[in-house]
């Protein structure tokens, strides 16, 4: 479990995070939802240690991360896997080498054979067992995201962070990626935090949703509760999508509007 307490962050006097307090639960897909410029990415960067908050504390399973000793911060960081918005694969390495990289760096005690087995397992888990020799420039956006996930889970991470995993992907591929993230979360019982402004993801994997607006947490709940939330900013955000409006209408008239949208069969990405 990750506990965020009163996180504040400003840039040149402009407050971006205005005292965020929230909890990300283990074994669930926790979604940080909100429009562009609401501080989601800044909050995520503060949590993973890429940015230092001005105030507040972050705790990983009871261990304080912010302002703690470097060794302790490093120990926590080594349990973190992250999928970046642009995948952030190392250009000079193949898919196999990208997945192997954290194992080589973080677990020197592993033998070459053990590493190979783990990499093959992770690539198979994300459906890329035949793409190991390809360079990142030779694979599609969806495949890059899959490699990013494989790289993140290779060292058996406890916390998985995904920064807009659907950006730049078509809806079908997006749902496949969402499903993969959800499956991995349940399978390994890890704490997953996903930044998104995609309502499809909310419907698909939103076990716990935190809605942010102008640097504040305005609402949190589950995907079943979100459509009936009474926060005006959240309602405006949700129903700005004509697809969701239509699904809501269907939902009211019959049964399973949003669920029906999410359960459409998809072909392989």
């Amino acid at each position: 479990m990750i506990e965020v307490h009163n996180i504040q962050k400003s840039f040149d006097g402009n407050p971006v995070l205005k005292g965020i307090t929230c909890t990300f639960e283990t074994g669930k897909c926790n979604l940080l939802l909100g429009g562009s410029g609401t501080g989601k990415s800044v909050l995520l960067q503060c949590i993973v240690g890429l940015m230092k908050p001005d105030l507040g504390s972050i705790t990983f399973d009871g261990t304080v991360f912010t302002n703690n000793k470097v060794d302790i911060r490093q120990e926590i960081r080594r349990k973190i896997g992250m999928l970046f918005q642009g995948s952030a694969l190392f250009d000079s390495m193949t898919v196999y080498e990208n997945t192997e990289f954290p194992l080589k760096m973080l677990t020197p005690e592993m033998s070459r054979e053990e590493r190979r087995d783990r990499v093959e397992f992770c690539l198979k888990r994300v459906g890329l067992e035949n793409a190991g020799n390809k360079m990142p420039s030779e694979i599609s956006g969806g495949m890059k995201k899959r490699v990013g996930i494989a790289r993140a889970i290779a060292p058996q991470c406890t916390y998985l962070f995904c920064d807009e995993p659907n950006s730049g992907l078509d809806p079908a591929t997006s749902i496949k990626i969402d499903q993969l993230i959800q499956e991995i979360t349940y399978e390994y019982n890890i704490t997953t935090v996903v930044i998104t402004h995609d309502m499809n993801s909310v419907v698909e994997i939103g076990d716990h949703i935190i809605f942010m607006h102008k640097g504040l947490k305005l609402w949190d709940g589950t995907k079943d509760e979100i459509l009936n939330a009474q926060v005006p900013e959240l309602r405006e955000f949700i129903f700005s999508s004509s697809l969701v409006r239509a699904a809501k209408k269907v939902d009211e008239e019959s049964e399973g509007g949003l669920e029906a949208l999410a359960s459409e069969p998809l072909s392989e990405v």
Partner: protein
């Protein structure tokens, strides 16, 4: 200016703090030695051979006094090559080739979040990415300067003898006249200092790139410009201190 210099010093400190394992640094350094050193042999060879040849021809053109022996041409080519042309011109050429490559590479890694990916994994990105580049530069620059010295003197020899400006014997005699071994040491000290300046400044520029492709280009240009200025300032300072 002061703030930037302070940031540069902190950057250097962060590189030495929490270093990666020796085996990792060793492998990365060898890879960088190949990129920085071996891949630069061709351009360094071409530039130094022609500089030696042109230096020889121009000195011969200006030395028209019959009282000055022809061997002086060889002597002057050697002195200019060892003291100034080989270390300084080679380093300036490498600032263009290696400096822009380092800044461009790190800048691209920064804007595509590859540096952030390393940091999230708990890897000291400065140590992993920059330290091997600086060590490799400080190892390879002196070797390239030695190569440049040899090729420049050979270039002068070929130009002088083939153009008929002097005989081979006169050139070799000039090359061997009043040789001071310390000058080689001085040139190698200069090359190590220049290597540090080029690699550290270029890494600093690339590592802190923000924005997009345009900023990567600007970082690359800035790295080359600042490296060349730093080389020239250091050249003067070292000459004043060590000679």
């Amino acid at each position: 200016m002061v703030k930037t210099f302070g940031s540069f010093l902190l950057f250097m400190q962060s590189m030495l703090f929490r270093k990666e394992r020796f085996a990792v640094l060793w492998k990365r350094t060898i890879d960088e030695c190949i990129l920085i050193g071996i891949d630069s042999v061709f351009i360094v060879s071409i530039v130094s051979a022609f500089i030696g040849a042109v230096t020889c021809v121009q000195i011969a053109y200006n030395l028209i006094n019959p009282l000055i022996p022809k061997s002086t041409i060889g002597y002057m080519v050697r002195e200019m090559t060892i003291l100034e042309l080989a270390p300084t011109i080679t380093s300036i050429v490498l600032a263009g080739k290696v400096g822009s490559s380092i800044a461009g590479g790190l800048g691209t890694m920064r804007i595509t979040e590859q540096v952030s990916a390393l940091e999230v994994m708990g890897i000291n990105s400065a140590s992993y990415l920059v330290l091997p580049r600086i060590i490799a530069s400080m190892v390879m620059f002196p070797l390239l300067v030695i190569l440049a010295m040899a090729l420049s003197i050979i270039g002068g020899y070929l130009a002088g003898t083939l153009s008929g400006a002097m005989s081979a014997q006169e050139y070799v005699e000039g090359i061997r006249t009043d040789f001071i071994p310390y000058n080689i040491t001085f040139a190698l000290i200069k090359s190590v200092v220049f290597a540090f300046l080029v690699s550290a400044i270029s890494s600093f520029k690339g590592y802190y790139t923000q924005g997009g492709a345009l900023e990567v280009g600007a970082a690359s240009t800035g790295a080359v410009t600042n490296s060349i200025i730093a080389i020239l300032l250091a050249d003067y300072a070292l000459a004043a201190i060590l000679l």
